[in-house]
């Protein structure tokens, strides 16, 4: 891309910003765009944040994505960061039209980040924060050895999704109720305050009596969903630096979780706006055709899968239509007026996440139009459609989204058998765990806890408890 093209893009950004904010009422943070080569795009895409700490899993992801790109199999068009100012990356090998569409799409995303309630507590300076984390991480690598840190991260990352972004909010409210013992002010900034509580753990012994027990978990009411935080605070075997690493991972995960919870809505939102903005740009025909093709490719349904762009886009369009022209029943029952479509989708963008979005707005007609269905593996061989009744399909979809697709696992006892053993409970809701992975992950949990660990789940309609003591797996 030469300088003239960069200039053209700069002008396009101004123009698109104008259309997005003035004409359509979008309200994004200011955005810094950067033009980058493919390798950088894939790098940031793999790490999800520029300047993040190193781990081989990122290398694996990077390698795969780069390979897909090199073989022409897939392409990342945009990477945009939830921050203020926001950062977005444009592929230098894209055409101007493609990048214009990306810019418009990005503005939709940033508007979403700014205004959706689930993002309200996210750290808008995460890029700096991630860089600080990365630096600390490499200091630890230097001090303790790369292998040591890597092996610890391997174990930690196996449970990284088991984090509760509302953890600190919960604690605040608990303190207010006075149910928990007193702890020096739990301010949001004092995220690392809880590390100071580790003094209590210094002289723990296996046969703790009751007083010791409550002293060990002064502010922790079980069951606890945030496994990372719990282990960080109460594990008998972790070193300070390891707890610090857990705190960093916890913070990064809490930052990402809203994005995982709103994927469909966010992509739908950005797609709606990129298509409307592009239309406003009044492009010459050839460019417009190029855009149309691109857009069609992005929001196309993939057979047997769920394209979030497609789903989000269609549902939002449908909402706008229905609120623009409410049915007689809607008017009578809800007092809806004509022409409230635009207002309504802005409201949705503010208040909903994927689960509420799907539950409230996926209608019978939409299920028909989108040809949604439930399918399962039958006879261990064939993926077969098993359900087309719209309510069942919708409910299954919503169920699959719960906890952004991860099993809901809680710590229910940190002193099981009066032996400081850890007891985890899988809140079974109809879908079984992958047992092989569960056992392997349990090994990692054991590594982090240092003592015997248990996991209760349901297999073949019967309760099953897995045990791991560092040497052998067992179950009953």
């Amino acid at each position: 891309m030469n300088d003239r093209e960069v200039k053209e893009l700069e002008e396009a950004v101004e123009q698109i910003w104008e259309i997005a904010t003035v004409k359509f009422g979008l309200d994004p943070f200011p955005v810094r765009f950067e033009i980058v080569p493919a390798s950088v795009m894939y790098e940031i895409g793999s790490y999800a944040l520029p300047g993040r700490y190193s781990h081989w899993t990122f290398g694996k992801a990077y390698h795969r994505q780069k390979m897909m790109y090199d073989f022409g199999l897939s392409k990342i068009y945009e990477v945009v960061i939830n921050s203020n100012p926001s950062y977005a990356f444009l592929l230098e090998t894209n055409s101007i039209t493609q990048n214009k569409m990306v810019i418009a799409h990005v503005l939709g995303h940033v508007d979403f980040f700014k205004n959706n309630v689930y993002f309200s507590k996210t750290n808008r300076r995460m890029v700096d924060e991630a860089a600080i984390h990365a630096r600390r991480m490499s200091e630890y690598e230097f001090k303790y050895g790369r292998k040591v840190v890597e092996e610890f991260l391997d174990a930690l990352l196996s449970i990284e999704e088991h984090v509760d972004p509302h953890l600190f909010i919960r604690k605040e409210s608990r303190n207010a109720d006075g149910r928990a013992k007193d702890e020096p002010g739990k301010r949001r900034e004092g995220r690392y305050d809880d590390l100071f509580a580790k003094d209590e753990l210094a002289e723990n012994s296996p046969d703790s009596d009751k007083d010791e027990k409550s002293k060990l978990q002064p502010d922790h009411l079980l069951p606890e969903k945030d496994i990372v935080h719990y282990l960080m605070k109460h594990s008998p075997v972790l070193a300070d630096w390891q707890r610090d690493v857990m705190a960093m991972i916890h913070e990064e995960m809490a930052y990402f979780i809203p994005q995982m919870q709103t994927k469909i809505l966010n992509e739908g939102w950005a797609s709606i706006w990129h298509s409307r903005i592009m239309r406003e740009l009044d492009l010459p025909t050839s460019n417009h055709l190029e855009f149309a093709e691109l857009h069609a490719g992005v929001v196309s349904p993939h057979k047997g899968q769920l394209n979030p762009y497609y789903l989000g886009y269609r549902i939002l369009e449908d909402i706008e239509k229905r609120w623009d022209k409410p049915t007689k029943e809607d008017r009578e029952k809800f007092g809806r007026q004509d022409g409230q479509g635009r207002e309504k989708i802005f409201e949705v963008r503010e208040l909903d996440n994927d689960i509420s979005f799907l539950r409230n707005y996926l209608t019978e007609e939409l299920c028909e139009e989108l040809d949604l269905f439930v399918y399962q593996l039958v006879d261990d061989e064939e993926w077969t459609v098993t359900e087309k009744a719209w309510e069942k399909v919708r409910n299954q979809l919503v169920a699959n989204m719960t906890n952004f697709g991860f099993p809901y696992i809680e710590i229910v006892d940190g002193d099981y058998n009066h032996n400081r053993e850890l007891y985890l409970m899988h809140r079974f809701e109809g879908i079984e765990l992958d047992m092989k992975y569960a056992r392997k992950t349990l090994e990692y949990v054991h590594k982090l806890w240092g003592r015997k660990v248990h996991l209760e789940t349901v297999v073949d309609e019967e309760a099953l408890v897995l045990h791991f003591d560092g040497q052998e797996h067992d179950e009953d």
């Binding site: 950004v13 810094r32 765009f33 033009i35 190193s54 290398g59 394209n307 269905f373 064939e382």
Partner: protein
């Protein structure tokens, strides 16, 4: 609002972490050599250099749902009905809500690494070499090599070392005029490469590979034998320049075959092991006199020899051992081993009991694909008295 374009050419973070990943792949390969050694993709690779091999220790373990038991939701093309089959096992699952930003792929069971067979071979062969190698009849195996080892001031023009000559010229000009540049060439500037003849001594080795192709050797057993010989052949050809390999396959009768036939032949019939040993001994006597050659006979069978042949087999095996450096015997059990084969009727135990010279006999039992690599190490590992 700004649009920036910076120089990312020095950015290597993705690559650096990719290196970390590659390192893990290498470590994983090392740990998994046992299963990689007998992996079909390699043994049946037909000379392809790069092969995909599954490695289990690179999975990113998490608590996750069993995607095979899950109920998934998808969109169709408009006419989907209950009962439609939309795919067979192996299809990727839906992409929404089941992974996070770092490029996770749901539903993948193991990691497939693309490996270079030569690299694997190197790893496997690090600890292997032909045991009991004795220096035999050096005259037979001299090979002359010429190496350019010296630089002289005289020589023939064809051997002019231009670089050094130019260097000498510049040095001289610098000395004379204080200016380091190329001046007019003088005879004293010129340098020539000369060679000397070096005589390499190699040890000669011949391997007599014998395989039981009788009816009792089913596909699995033949495959195991094949795996073993695959690596043995490869190994020998990399470690030693001059190794001959004789392929003998037998059932009730033995015959010498080509390498190709050896690996692909499927026969039937009974098993008379002594036929192979007799042919081996004859071949050695005719073509590979032990005073000139290190002979290594190897035999793979399932141990199910014709009962009355056992005495003869033992006698001939003894004779092989006395003429050869080492006699190797691999007994292949049923897939998922049964203890029947460990019974006294099988050759391995007979050999162990009755062979006179146990030191130069190596017998192993292979029940599983995982046993092939240990068997290789058993045969080719370091021994006390190495040449």
């Amino acid at each position: 609002m700004s649009v920036q374009r910076n120089d990312w050419s020095l950015q290597r973070k993705g690559q650096i972490d990719q290196e970390r990943h590659k390192e893990r792949v290498r470590d994983a390969i090392k740990k998994n050599l046992g299963s990689i050694v007998s992996n079909e993709a390699i043994i049946l690779s037909d000379g392809k250099r790069r092969v995909k091999v599954p490695i289990r220790s690179l999975d990113e373990y998490k608590f996750r749902f069993d995607y095979r038991k899950k109920k998934h939701v998808g969109t169709g093309d408009g006419k989907t009905q209950v009962g439609d089959v939309i795919g067979r096992e192996g299809q990727p699952g839906p992409g929404v809500g089941s992974g996070q930003g770092a490029g996770d792929q749901p539903g993948q069971e193991y990691y497939e690494a693309e490996v270079d067979i030569d690299e694997i071979a190197k790893l496997i062969f690090e600890d292997l070499h032909l045991p009991y190698l004795e220096d035999k009849a050096k005259q037979a195996v001299q090979s002359k090599t010429t190496k350019f080892t010296e630089i002289r001031r005289a020589g023939i023009l064809a051997n002019l070392d231009k670089r050094r000559s130019i260097l000498e010229n510049i040095k001289r000009t610098a000395r004379e005029s204080g200016d380091a540049k190329l001046g007019r060439f003088k005879k004293e500037d010129l340098r020539y490469r000369t060679w000397e003849e070096q005589i390499k001594y190699e040890s000669n080795a011949v391997v007599i590979a014998m395989m039981d192709v009788s009816g009792s050797m089913g596909d699995f057993k033949k495959y195991i034998a094949r795996s073993f010989y695959f690596w043995m052949v490869r190994f020998l050809r990399t470690k030693y320049d001059h190794v001959e390999i004789v392929f003998i396959s037998h059932h009730t009768e033995a015959k010498e075959v080509s390498e190709e036939q050896f690996f692909t032949q499927g026969e039937s019939g009974g098993t008379v092991v002594s036929s192979a040993y007799r042919l081996a001994l004859n071949t050695v006597a005719e073509r590979f006199p032990p005073r000139d050659w290190n002979v290594y006979p190897f035999h793979f069978s399932d141990g199910d020899n014709y009962y009355s042949d056992n005495d003869e087999a033992v006698r001939l095996a003894d004779e092989l051992i006395s003429t050869c450096n080492l006699f190797g015997y691999g007994e292949i059990g049923e897939e998922g081993a049964s203890s029947y084969r460990r019974s006294t009727g099988a050759l391995l135990s007979i050999f162990k009991d009755r062979l006179k010279n146990q030191q130069r006999f190596v017998g192993v039992r292979i029940d599983d694909k995982e046993d092939v690599y240990p068997a290789l190490k058993e045969f080719f590992g370091k021994r006390g008295d190495q040449a």
